[in-house]
């Protein structure tokens, strides 16, 4: 895996090309042994954990995108809980959230990179 930049505890990883994600959908990605869900909503690229805490399956990348009262969300494909794309917070249950990751688009808008904090 190509590591692009290393500052204290922070690493940006190149994950895929913009073309790899159809606008309005997501893909699963593997980073450091973790499963991530990476989405292109058309207005931005977002990454959260792929693991759905309600079903216990790695499926969030296959959820439907949308917004609930202006908050960009993905709906789990299994039981349809909503997770905020920016924070990973579950909208139905304040106790539950999934990890959220910072993303950026580089290389003349061609590549998607994700920031992972490591210890």
């Amino acid at each position: 895996m190509l590591i692009l930049e290393r500052s204290t505890n922070t690493t940006w990883h190149d994950v895929c090309a913009m073309d790899d994600i159809i606008v309005g959908t997501g893909v699963a990605a593997r980073l450091n042994g973790e499963q991530l869900a990476v989405f292109n909503t058309g207005s931005g690229v977002f990454a959260i954990g792929n693991f759905d805490p309600f079903s216990g399956a790695n499926v969030l990348a296959r959820g439907l995108l949308g917004d609930i009262a202006g908050v960009l969300v993905v709906a789990s494909p299994v039981y349809k809980q909503h997770f905020c794309l920016k924070t990973g917070q579950c909208l139905e249950d304040p106790e539950i959230s999934v990890p959220a990751y910072e993303t950026r688009i580089c290389d003349q808008s061609k590549r998607i990179q994700i920031r992972v904090d490591s210890v």
Partner: protein, 843 residues
């Protein structure tokens, strides 16, 4: 102040309701209850459901801890054996002695067993308590035949129970007809025919003279003319009030039994009251639960010194389903009122009989008899109870008419109109609750208790709710979601008329925001129903719901199941072999579905294209088990093999399945074709059911299995192949155009104003002038059909989405299985950790 002692004798339906009413208001009583039965109050009205699966707990009417929480002293399995009115003392059968200030008799009634010789032989039963039913069940296990003595309402219900227990069942009635109390002669005759058709033998005009040992079976009933043998006998010859204790205590009782009460439900001793089936009011016993509940409510108010509302009698109209036959009786069913006129509708073929009894000036309804179809019951009852003016020709209320009936508008009902008789809720009561914020059926039910006992009033309650919301201008928001201020039907028309093909166009022109998991799949479904474009097209794929999204059914562990189409359930051994090979190769859990197909479970997303490559090569197509679309067309073997078949049901099923395969609709669609009236394909539980007749096909529509089963209704008879298909084309496209999101045809039909008649009018008589358009829309969908999987496996772009990870081709290592009965299944939570470890060791 010292508390008064209130003693309640009997914990049946009415006694328990009295306790509930008292617990809702402040009162100054210490309450003691004598309960003779081993179980506290339970729902006797639904007693028979005990044989069809309900447990005693489910039938219980007593909330857990109810007695404790309300400080009620409850004496289980102890009856009152005598009462000393002078000393105001009651004596229990287990030695309890209680002094009371006020006593309430709620002892109900007992089944009358005529004192014919042999009535007390072993194997003679009655049908009143759970203990009775336990005894019947035990006995029936060793019996082949049963006979019910008594062909009234309860007798027929008991007969149904016996036949459900697998006994060959007879009903013996003394009167010349069945249900003599509620029906007239003709109604009784039709009911008899229907019941006989269900395999229960009915013997009317028979008086049993004695019961002796049988020759072949346990008993022999001897009649004045003839005899009948049976293993089990059940008496249902009427009920008698349980007034023995009252009688011994010197209370006034009626000539034919029953403790006499006044309008305050007081007996001849002012400190003793009687309610429920034991009470005799104006020389009448009320053998239904609703009047008993009314008594309980009024007595509770009286005992708590609240407004002393008098008991004013009760309407004894009833609606019920006996062995699947709908029967309704309203008011003066026998037309005994002076000057009464009648008007009758009879359809001997369908077995429907309806009679109205009207006043001599034809202005008001006095009564009605309904057999075979009680859909008019609710509105007729309202006409009678509220003396609403009848339409000019009253017969229009019962005639089946294509123009639709004069609808009884809820606005026409006065506020005092009683909507729920079980719980005495008036229209005004409902409206008040609606105004105070109960704007859903659930909330309304909870607040008013309406529709929570027998449920018979549910549709009226709903109508009141709807008309009241409309009247009060409380807008019922029917927008599909926050992104579109339209219903699904609205969106469908926008899409079709403006030829919209993408979600972006739709959103820009008619919506706002980004969309969501409600409007996106709805839009996807509408696009598919209108234009039939490839659902995994980059412009459409982001709209597809969970299963459509990967053309397979997502299972709980994130894996998928695969269901190839097997039209009509017909498959060659060669193709079966292919399925077996694929299942083996990918280790797929294999199960036969209810729709005559084969479901292969446990495929990872990255395996789907490979699996389908093999299937498509062998000639399989997508089964659309993942879509809100046509699923299967089930069939029986029909005339090709079956001795009874009159048409080629398999051939028709395959034709229909191939015509409508891939058709996307507001919800899933199921169909079936049976080769004769024996109906082995269960077509009457499908959205579209086709049953062969000598002359062609009968078409049934809007049936449903699942959570809320609904029988399909006969839509048209004896159709030739061509007409059949044309009707189905129109029916389906009309459904697609007008149904709500995720609305099955059954619910769509139930909500349709004008009902089946309207639907027939649109589809058969082309009342809206839409037929040509509907047919051509369907034809274009048929012509543009293409197998989605075939298309996908040749489309490199579409295939990219099936990679397990965008940056890694190793599959998800967390999908693991355990084995059971020779196949795999997902591990349960407690098994998963172990399964993961084993999996790691293998890799």
């Amino acid at each position: 102040m010292e508390k008064l002692q209130l003693l309640i004798v009997g914990n049946g339906m009415v006694g328990q309701r009295l306790l509930e009413e008292l617990s809702r208001m402040p009162h100054a009583y210490n309450i003691t209850v004598f309960c003779e039965e081993s179980r506290a109050a339970y729902d006797r009205v639904h007693l028979s459901s005990y044989f069809s699966g309900a447990s005693a707990d489910e039938l219980s009417l007593v909330a857990p801890e109810f007695f404790e929480q309300n400080g009620i002293h409850f004496l289980r399995e102890e009856a009152v054996q005598s009462i000393d009115c002078l000393r105001k003392t009651a004596f229990g059968t287990r030695g309890t002695i209680i002094k009371y200030d006020t006593l309430v008799l709620a002892t109900g009634s007992y089944p009358f067993v005529p004192p014919i010789p042999g009535h007390d032989r072993v194997g003679c039963h009655v049908y009143r308590t759970l203990d009775d039913l336990d005894a019947i069940r035990r006995d029936a296990a060793n019996c082949r035949t049963g006979v019910v003595i008594g062909g009234g309402l309860l007798g027929l219900e008991a007969a149904k129970a016996l036949s459900d227990l697998g006994l060959q069942t007879h009903v013996v009635e003394f009167a010349p007809q069945l249900m003599a109390v509620q029906l007239d002669e003709q109604g009784g005759a039709i009911l008899r025919k229907k019941i006989a058709a269900l395999g229960v033998q009915v013997h009317t005009g028979k008086s049993t003279q004695k019961i002796i040992d049988g020759d072949q079976q346990r008993h022999k009933l001897v009649f004045a003319d003839g005899e009948l043998e049976a293993d089990l006998i059940l008496f249902s010859a009427g009920i008698r009030p349980r007034d023995a204790v009252a009688r011994d205590a010197g209370l006034a009782v009626g000539e034919r039994g029953g403790v006499i009460v006044n309008d305050l439900l007081q007996t001849s001793d002012p400190d003793i009251y009687a309610i429920g089936e034991v009470a005799l009011w104006q020389n009448k016993i009320f053998g239904l639960v609703a009047p008993g509940y009314d008594m309980a409510r009024k007595l509770a108010a009286h005992l708590c010194q609240q407004s002393g509302e008098a008991f004013t009698g009760a309407d004894m109209s009833t609606k019920l389903k006996l062995m699947g036959v709908e029967v309704g009786s309203i008011g003066d069913a026998q037309a005994r009122s002076p000057g009464a006129r009648t008007c009758v509708y009879e359809d001997g073929v369908k077995g429907v009989y309806k009679k109205l009894i009207v006043s001599d000036d034809c202005k008001t309804l006095l009564g009605a008899v309904l057999v075979g179809d009680t859909s008019d019951y609710d509105s007729l009852l309202q006409y009678m109870l509220n003396a609403l003016p009848l339409p000019e020709s009253p017969s229009s209320l019962i005639l089946p008419s294509l123009e639709g009936k004069p609808m009884l508008g809820m606005d026409a009902l006065p506020g005092t109109a009683q909507i729920c008789s079980c719980n005495n809720v008036s229209k005004a009561g409902l409206c008040q609750a609606i105004t105070s914020g109960c704007t859903t059926i659930g909330a309304l039910k909870k607040e008013t208790r309406a529709a929570s006992t027998c449920g018979g009033c549910a549709s009226l309650v709903k109508q009141v709710l709807e008309s009241e919301l409309k009247r009060q201008g409380i807008a019922v928001n029917d927008h599909i979601c926050e992104h579109f201020a339209y219903t699904r039907q609205g969106l469908y028309h926008l899409v079709r008329i403006n030829k919209i093909r993408t979600f972006n166009e739709l959103l820009q022109q008619h919506g706002k925001g980004h969309g969501c998991e409600i409007c996106k799949p709805a839009a996807a479904s509408i696009f598919a129903s209108c234009w039939n474009d490839f659902v995994l097209d980059p412009k459409l794929v982001g709209l597809q719901d969970t299963n459509d999204n990967f053309l397979a059914n997502l299972q709980k562990d994130g894996s998928y199941s695969v269901v190839p189409r097997i039209p009509g359930g017909e498959i060659t051994p060669q193709k079966l072999e292919v399925l077996a090979k694929v299942a083996q190769q990918y280790d797929l859990y294999t199960k036969i579905t209810g729709g005559q197909r084969i479901d292969l479970f446990g495929a990872r997303v990255d395996q789907l294209p490979m699996i389908w490559r093999d299937l498509v090569d062998a000639g399989f197509e997508s089964g659309h088990a993942y879509g809100k679309a046509l699923r299967t067309v089930k069939s029986c073997v029909g005339s090709s093999w079956c001795r009874y078949g009159v048409q080629d049901s398999v051939g028709m099923a395959i034709y229909v399945e191939e015509r409508y395969r891939g058709l996307r609709s507001p919800h899933k669609l199921k169909m079936a074709v049976s080769g004769c009236t024996r109906e082995c394909a269960e077509a009457q539980s499908k959205d579209v059911g086709i049953i062969a007749t000598e002359k062609g096909w009968n078409l049934y529509v809007c049936g449903n299995g699942g959570m809320r089963p609904r029988h399909a209704e006969l839509f048209a008879s004896d159709l030739d192949d061509k007409t059949l298909i044309r009707y189905i084309d129109r029916f389906l496209m009309f459904y697609i155009a007008t149904a709500d999101r995720l609305q099955r045809t059954s619910v769509w039909r139930d909500n349709m104003e004008g009902g089946l008649a309207y639907l027939q009018d649109v589809v058969i008589n082309d009342a809206l002038g839409l037929s040509v358009e509907l047919e051509s829309q369907m034809q274009s969908l048929v012509d543009t059909y293409a197998c989605e999987w075939k298309r996908t496996i040749d489309d490199l772009e579409a295939l990219k989405r099936f990679r397990p990870f965008v940056n890694d081709d190793l599959p998800d290592e967390q999908i693991v299985y355990v084995r059971e009965r020779g196949q795999k299944r997902p591990p349960r939570a407690e098994e998963k950790a172990l399964a993961l470890i084993e999996h790691e060791e293998l890799v």
